[in-house]
């Protein structure tokens, strides 16, 4: 916990502020100039320090795989990606030291200048859907019913895999479909190429289809 300087600073400011406020409540000092200055720190400066650094720490926390997996329907996705035995696309990317600890965000964040903002707005929608529709849904049913809202964009892959690398172009399929890959016509994460990224969820869909349950196409959080 104390490895994150923002978190440590935020908690330190909150503790100091609470101490000052407890002193004010217990000692009940006269509201003279000295008390007002102490309260300026207790009510103003230190809580602003907590809010500022706490928001940064909170923002970082929302990018962690652990955060995404904290809603029970997402737990299997997070567990699969962090499993050392899994060979799924998600798991292989989660082993990257540069972004492995926030691998959900690294792949699912929107690309572009306002990508972070649109991703966070999308995340709020996920929380709404979870709280009001899927809170009590069993994992198997969730995986069978719910699909990614918009098709996965190749832009997310191309942040790292430029498609211009000689190593990439050594592979015949890459060369023959390069225009389609770059335009997004052919998905990198499609079955037969490198996907699906979370194979177990597709298996759940197949199982549901086999027993005759129709996936609810309109429900796409």
């Amino acid at each position: 916990m104390f490895s994150d300087p923002f978190k440590t600073f935020a908690i330190g400011c909150a503790l100091l502020s609470t101490l000052l406020l407890l002193w004010f409540f217990i000692r009940k000092p006269a509201l003279n100039r000295a008390t007002k200055i102490v309260l300026l720190f207790g009510i103003g400066i230190l809580p602003i320090g907590t809010a500022g650094t706490g928001n940064i720490a909170g923002y970082h926390a929302t990018k962690e795989t652990q955060f995404c997996g904290s809603c029970h329907v997402m737990t299997p996705y997070a567990a699969d990606s962090t499993s050392l035995e899994s060979t799924s696309l998600a798991a292989r990317h989660a082993r990257n030291g540069a972004f492995g600890h926030e691998n959900c965000y690294a792949c699912h964040a929107d690309y572009g200048m306002f990508g972070t903002i649109t991703t966070k707005i999308g995340g709020m929608r996920h929380v709404y859907e979870y709280l009001f529709h899927y809170r009590d849904t069993p994992d198997e049913e969730f995986q069978a019913e719910v699909e990614i809202r918009n098709p996965f964009r190749n832009d997310s892959c191309m942040r790292c895999h430029s498609t211009r690398n000689p190593l990439f172009n050594k592979i015949g399929d890459h060369v023959s479909t390069q225009a389609d890959i770059r335009s997004g016509k052919t998905s990198c994460a499609s079955e037969g190429c490198h996907g699906p990224a979370h194979p177990f969820s597709k298996e759940a869909k197949k199982r549901a289809k086999a027993v005759g349950a129709t996936p609810q196409a309109e429900v796409k959080p």
């Binding site: 004010f24 509201l31 706490g54 926390a61």
Partner: protein, 101 residues
């Protein structure tokens, strides 16, 4: 706007210490939510800290500044009134001294 004016008018009548105490309670509530989100970084605490926690913290600080502003104004007014009283008393004393002559 009427509601805001009403609230401000009512707050002006409240004792400064009460306003500061309410502000301190709001600060503690905001801090509790913020620290909770730091210790348990899951969606609900993080969302509560970034919305309700921020609202508590901001309103607490605003309330504190308002209380200080009201207190300063009351102090200035009291000083001015006491100065005016002193001046009036001095004038009266001067008049009283001049009258017997």
């Amino acid at each position: 706007m009427k509601i805001v004016a009403k609230v401000v008018a009512r707050a002006k009548r409240v004792h400064m210490t009460t306003l500061v105490r309410i502000s301190a309670v709001f600060t503690i509530l905001g801090l509790v939510l913020m620290v909770w989100s730091l210790l348990v970084p899951t969606p609900l605490p993080v969302m509560l800290a970034m919305s309700l926690g921020q609202a508590f913290g901001t309103s607490a600080f605003m309330l504190y500044l308002f209380a200080i502003f009201i207190d300063q104004r009351r102090g200035r007014r009291a000083r001015r009134e006491s100065q005016q009283n002193l001046q009036a008393e001095a004038e009266r004393a001067l008049r009283d001294r001049e009258e017997p002559a």
